[in-house]
């Protein structure tokens, strides 16, 4: 009968350990942990709140009707405005304070040729030119309208 004392002692140690674990866990565990899965649910809200830099194509049209209409009828229709003009969410929100950029005439050839320079790796259907031979020394925009490039 005295042997039961050993068991009780072990049980006591276990109980203390479990109590300690529960206590520590309640302090250390992030509040939203486990709400959605084995992670901190609040992290999702932090990620969702990250800033947006690209406004998206649909935002530009209402203010820039001419360019939007012109582009919609051209072979550049699939290209979003910000693919060429860069991230403009700030501009779309406050056009007076946040100026938008457009490719400069001095860098125009490099800008257009990034997409249009002939190369074996490009899909055969894609319209390309050899930059060194296609009217060199002239900005592409002298002949092609960027928003409607067909001549």
């Amino acid at each position: 009968m005295k042997d039961i004392e050993h068991l009780l002692r072990v049980a006591a140690i276990f109980l203390v350990a479990i109590a300690l674990f529960v206590a520590v866990r309640s302090v250390v565990k992030p509040e939203s942990y486990g709400k959605l899965g084995r992670y901190r649910a609040a992290a999702l809200d932090e990620i969702k709140a990250l800033p947006v830099r690209y406004a998206g194509q649909q935002e530009c049209g209402p203010c820039h009707k001419t360019q939007a209409r012109e582009k919609a009828g051209s072979s550049h229709r699939g290209i979003s405005c910000e693919s060429c003009h860069g991230a403009l969410a700030a501009h779309a929100a406050a056009p007076k304070t946040a100026k938008a950029l457009k490719p400069e005439e001095s860098s125009m050839r490099g800008f257009c040729l990034r997409c249009h320079e002939a190369a074996v790796s490009k899909p055969a259907k894609f319209p390309t030119v050899e930059g060194g031979k296609h009217n060199p020394d002239m900005a592409c925009s002298m002949c092609h309208k960027p928003h409607s490039p067909k001549i």
């Binding site: 992030p30 899965g37 084995r38 901190r40 932090e46 800033p51 690209y54 790796s121």
Partner: protein
Amino acid sequence: MRELPRRDFLKLTASALLTAAAAAAAAPVAWAEKFYREPPWRRKKPYWGFCVDIEKCIGCGRCVDACKTENDVPREPFYVRTWVERYIIRKDNEIKIDSPNGGMDGYPPVENPETVAKSFFVPKLCNLCENSPCVQVCPVGATFKTEDGVVLIDRKYCIGCRYCIQACPYGTRYFHPILQVADKCSVCYHRLRRGKVTACVEACPTGARMVGDLSDPQSNVSKFRENNKVQTLKANMGTEPKLVYKGLDKEVR
């Protein structure tokens, strides 16, 4: 009442027990089969997927640049969340893969183009694995798969042990030198949840990249998967990516 012979009694009991056991076993098996065979996007709405059409990619690198701008991916030192590889396969089967600066600033001209058998661009990004090795190895639960199928990083709880960077079979993770945490493509989760497409999709001029909701059979990605022969990268690893490619050459790893 007629007495039941012992032999018949035993037979009856055994067959009754067997039927009951089979019925009890069948239910969870049927459930498990349904659960594992059925694609996960039948269970949850929305469920994000990504498609890449290699036959449309022109290697302009606008996606790489847009991703960096949108997500503050460091430019100096240079890291990428998405990048575009150029494959050059010569007629003698020699293969060269390059991606200078992730393809952001273009590629040097191909030497001896007449000896090229095949050449194309392959955009790479997070493969949106259903069974993500990176999630499995994280010791602190800082990297996780959301209910809508996207693998994300909890920057506050990441301890920067780099284990996940080793674990990703696609090499899409890197160590953020400023934040001192692991970082990866989040398929612009902050944009998706605001109803916008990812920055790379926004910037892609040819429609080679697509993002959408797999749980909607009418969505762009569902239609694309249905109408084209699509493949995943390293299918043998069992990660079950939700990023699929059309026109994937067998040489692409």
